[in-house]
Amino acid sequence: MNEVRSPAGDASVRARWRALVLTDPVARLVRNAGHAGIDDDVFDLRQLALAAIDVAVASMGFARQITLAQLVDTVAGLARLMDERDDPVAAIEAARWVVRGLLNDAENQGKFVYVFHDIRSTPRRREEYAFKLLSLQDSPSGAVVQASPQAVMLYLNGLNLDVDDAEEALSVVLRRQLEDRRFEAAGRTAETAERASVAMAATLADIIESTRRDVRSADWLVDVPARLARARKHVKARIEADGEVIGHVMSGIDAESDAAVRRASGDLVETLQRIREVHLDLASRASGAREVLQQAQLRQVFSRPVRLRLLNVERELFEPILAMATADAQAVCEAFTDRILGFRLPRVLHLGDLVDSLLTPTRQVTPVEYVPEDPGNADEADAQAYAPEVIAAATKILRRAEHAPVPLSELVDAATAVDPEEVDGAVEDLIELVTLAALWAYAPDLPEPGDSPTAGIDTLIAALTAERTGHTIDRPMVWGNQLMISASGAIS
């Protein structure tokens, strides 16, 4: 069989394949929506995805960048319009699903990776094509959403077009339509032209932003100056043309007798004025770009070289530690966690403040109206009572004071070291009970006649006495004066 091949097709297959895979993340998030309980019949997820990209690209180009929270809210607002039930919870779930899909949350928010099989090369080879659509950057107002160049391409109908050429082509089409007096069609073309300008500004914004982060990230010798020159030329030509077209259409409105044509012309003027704003903004962006480069150069020359250690955390640290014995693993985990936690600010006692606070009169508390508590079901366990196993463990610890006086710190340490299984995980309660027993022994609070018995605690600590030693105790849950605990009788 003769081989049937198209040389033209072969030449462009890689570019067309890339254009095709750019839409796959959106197809994937639609495909998997059912698993997440998102109803694709209710929400047009494709449109929501396009809207999310539109908003991200537009905010990159011309205003303060949109935050993740704002993007989700915006997409959720659109989703609500699609849902006849007007269910805000379902809408926000759909918006989250779309944004997570565009961030590639299923793969750790990494790049989307597709493999191109180049069967025309010799030997045949496979090429990885990796891209992001949206990514997040840290900012004072939260994570801001950044659209990738691929998202900008998708924004332009998913076609691998040169933005500047598209703009020029649209400009020619617009002029021809105006000459033909096809104002409605001209309006649609003008809107498309606006999107092309937005995309151009977004690309420029991306270059400027990456230059701010690292001057080496963009080619400021050849590529960026050429782009800026094109942008300036484009803006100059467009601003002149915008004025000319607006004037032309407005004069036409005055002379036009057909109401429909007058209305279409009016709409077109509005669109053209908006486009003019876009072009003016692009002009200021292009003129300020060089200054951004100079500032970034100055800053980055003097900034301390960051000695980042680029390690594979999962393979080099996490998995080896999981396989280590607990004692060894703990040492490594602590080394890591202690450094990640950063710092704390030590508090310094200011004597003047202390005296002031001691002399401050007690705050008068407004009496609260007493509302009797519902006794509830008498069979239920008292939520405030200590569990029997905690009382048993505390008794065992306090028995150490039977034969010789024991410092409170030793009792607290013994309570801390108790196997959590022995007290059903309530180690904190145990430490608290031992400490309270010691404090009660130091300053007994004798029960009033009629007080209910407290689950044997009175009996437990009645036999204890405590005295201050003059030293201090410093434990995470207990600190202050050290007490020496001794038993005046047998602890029951």
Partner: protein, 240 residues
Amino acid sequence: MSISLEDVRRAAELVTFGLRHGARPTDGNPYGLLLHRYRTEAAFSDLVDVLASGLGLVVLGTPARTGIVVTTQPGSVFAIRTSDLRSTNMGPEDKLVAGLVTLAIAAYAFPHPRDLDSTDVKIVEVVALDAFIRSAIARVTATTGEDGNDAQARRAADVYDRMSAFLPKANQAGPAKGCTQWAIGEVLGWLVDRGAARPAPTMGATTYQLTDRFRLLVADIGGGEALEALRTARRESETT
């Protein structure tokens, strides 16, 4: 350029801004002006670095949106340890689980070495993180086999694996203490307190956004020290 006492005071002010997790530089505020000076005046940046060093601190970097990121030198008066944090009565196993979770967050957020050099930030979610850790444990178990009953030889993975993923609270929603989802929430809470993460409630009640500070801490200090500790532990286990 000669250094004046006023410069020293300004340098100390910048270090103080770095010690305040909530402080954010903008173009015109005093923090932003000092940060700009740090980036553009070599003598001033040296002064800030030296002053921080004398206090037992290290300047990790000055990302424009985050501000000056400082961390501690070993033994610094500012140094914080796991035991100083809000879950004060953590047992050894709780500490181990917290450490594993911290490492897992870094592993989840930076799957490739190059991710540590990118300013992209990630969002993390408690249940997804738990699933990530358990899948890593399953891989480790498949490679090294099940552990025995010897408590001395018990692996870190088994400590995590034996904890329930979720235990319900008695009277309210959310995981109760004693399960791994609670531990993950706790560690993320620490990171929020330290300015290394922010809650992202729009994306879900248990979703957090990691900040650039977290990346710098992992890449600049934490990763290196943990690798060193890992090598030391391996050397010791080989010699015994």
